[in-house]
């Protein structure tokens, strides 16, 4: 007897769903995008910058659906996770960490109707593109800031994995510093991984013990190094996300951040319109990268110099124009020669002024 009201209710619910279904079909997202991060988006660093870019893309394309997965390791596990996103309807996947490349590429072969954008690699396919910031030249103005602010003429650089691109960052940093301070040196410590907090803290401490009074880094999250520097009363320059300045209220100088949003928006729009073209995109200051706001410790004249250097780079200045000598005295870039964007992965030497061994 109690069945009748229950049955009525059930029928009513089904009818409601049936009526609602066409209405919700009208709200079908124009595109479902999947994104995998190698770490947590709360890292004040690389993953945060990717998240910010994707959120901007989502704001620019109303109704777009974004599926995300954090802490995706750079192993076959990532392939499984991306596959899961494709099963959920994703037609554009952003594989945001260097080590995700092969796995995303494998999926690109088995899913020709899904588009992939990988950050930081080189592989290409009709449905697989590559993008990254042209970080190297952008480090030049950071070097200018460090070179002007240092009193000990020693700068410290913590590198996660010494790939060519990272070494190029160190080189441009030192060259920028040398351009305003001919006596300055940069000491480099390699931790061996993109994200090992305990080692990063110890490495930053080691650089400060050796006299560095400006510390910077190329690791996934600048947080630990900046906090260590702040605790020891030493200047820091951030990388990956300009949000990192919140960690160093007193000794923040400046930093570099990625602005992925416009590129991600363009790519998503091209997938929706069916005009996706794979490319190897490397954009620098002004496009995919930006200089962070200055800290209170930075005087106006230094700010002007750094901004001017940044504008120079945005207009096409290439610090890797010969002659360039490495820290063993050998000439690596001959006079009249210059290393363009395609050679940024080839660095296996440090410029003169850098104390460290590249390989």
């Amino acid at each position: 007897m109690a069945r009748i009201p229950v049955m009525t209710a059930a029928l009513a619910a089904v009818a409601a769903l049936w009526i609602a279904a066409p209405a919700s079909a009208q709200n079908k997202p124009p595109l479902t995008v999947g994104a995998i991060y190698v770490g947590s988006v709360n890292d004040y660093g690389y993953n945060r910058s990717m998240k910010d870019g994707l959120e901007e893309m989502k704001r620019n394309i109303p109704g777009l659906k974004l599926i995300e997965a954090e802490n995706v390791p750079e192993t076959a596990e990532s392939e499984r996770i991306m596959e899961g996103m494709i099963q959920q309807g994703a037609r554009l996947i952003f594989a945001t960490s260097f080590g995700h490349q092969q796995f995303a590429f494998n999926l690109a072969k088995t899913h020709p109707d899904v588009y992939f954008e990988h950050a930081g690699g080189w592989m290409q396919a009709p449905n697989f593109g590559n993008f990254f910031g042209a970080t190297q030249a952008a480090w030049y103005p950071m070097g200018v800031a460090a070179g002007k602010m240092t009193k000990s003429n020693t700068l410290g650089f913590v590198v996660g994995v010494p790939i060519g691109y990272a070494i190029g960052n160190v080189n441009a940093f030192e060259m920028g510093a040398l351009s305003v301070n001919p006596k300055v040196q940069t000491r480099v410590v390699v931790t061996g991984g993109w994200s090992d907090k305990a080692k990063e803290a110890t490495a930053a401490g080691a650089l400060i013990d050796q006299g560095a009074d400006v510390v910077t880094m190329h690791v996934d999250s600048p947080a630990t190094i900046i906090q260590t520097a702040e605790g020891r009363g030493v200047y820091s320059i951030g990388f990956q996300s300009i949000e990192a300045r919140q960690l160093a209220p007193k000794y923040w100088l400046t930093g570099l951040g990625f602005t992925w949003g416009p590129f991600m928006t363009e790519t998503a729009k091209s997938v929706i319109a069916g005009t996706f073209k794979p490319a190897m995109v490397r954009d620098g200051l002004g496009a995919m990268m930006t200089i962070a706001p200055f800290g209170s410790a930075v005087p106006d004249d230094v700010r002007a110099m750094v901004t001017a250097a940044g504008d120079k780079v945005a207009k096409g200045f290439n610090p890797f124009t010969g002659p360039v000598v490495d820290n063993t005295g050998a000439t690596k870039i001959a006079a009249g020669d210059s290393w363009g964007g395609d050679k940024m992965g080839n660095f296996d030497w440090y410029v003169a002024g850098v104390i460290g061994k590249a390989k």
């Binding site: 709360n42 590198v159 390699v190 061996g192 080692k199 110890t202 013990d209 050796q210 560095a212 061994k357």
Partner: protein
Amino acid sequence: MFGPLLYGVAASSVMSGTSLLYATLGEIVGERGGIVNLGLEGIMLVGAASGFAMTALTGNPYLGLAAAAVAGTALNLIFAYLVVSRRANQLATGLTLMFFGLGLSALVGRPFVGALITGLPKLHLFGGGGARGGLLNYDVLVYLAVPVSVLIWWLLFRTRWGLELRAVGESPAAALAAGVRPPRLQYQALALAGLLGGIAGAHLSLALTLTWAEGMTAGRGFIAIALVIFAKWNPLWAIAGALLFGGAESLQLQLQAAGADVSPFIMNMVPYLLTLIVLIVWGWSRQTAAPAALGRTFFGVE
């Protein structure tokens, strides 16, 4: 150049070695009772995550430390139940514990990633302070590390409880015949081991890095297990072992900063190579020093 180098190495070895020492001490207590716990990494991670979470929630790092100790103890008691009462294989259960701890710590820590905390305060002794850190300028866990090692030594070698535990570790059947109850002692030992392991993890997140990230112990739990062998299951030798490994890691980073002309890849291998060499050179002779019933499941006597 050598002055700042040596000073820097000494200061940072003490910082990195402290969490290793607590973890090694905990493992020694457990192994003296005959139980090898391969899941120490999981215990440390749970300690690190819980400590960080509690500190982020309450603003008090000492509360965080307490939470880490409790979490480590609780997790190790689960291990104890499986291994002592259910008589599961210790090695397999230990590894399972490691994965469980890895996942559980990630779950606990997830809402707190990126939180900014005030870590364990550095207490100045004998005029510390300044950018160079002063002579003695560490948090309370560092100062307590050696006293705790001595306490554990005293507990194991100078108390009745310690004697009974060691008897259980050598021969549970003989201990049982002497009126000792092995399961009770093993539970107690593993609870203590969990407490120390949790504190070890907390030192990483509340003092060394002031942050939490998934898997942040990066294999230190396993290094501690190797250090137990190096220390011949003696808490006093564990101090040397922890300083050695902590020192190796600091030394390679300090040498890089000082400009050593060695490939950074080789430098990063140094601590692990050292551990391997130690185990190869001393491992065989150490085997005789192991508790005789280590790793063997006790099924009781007829």
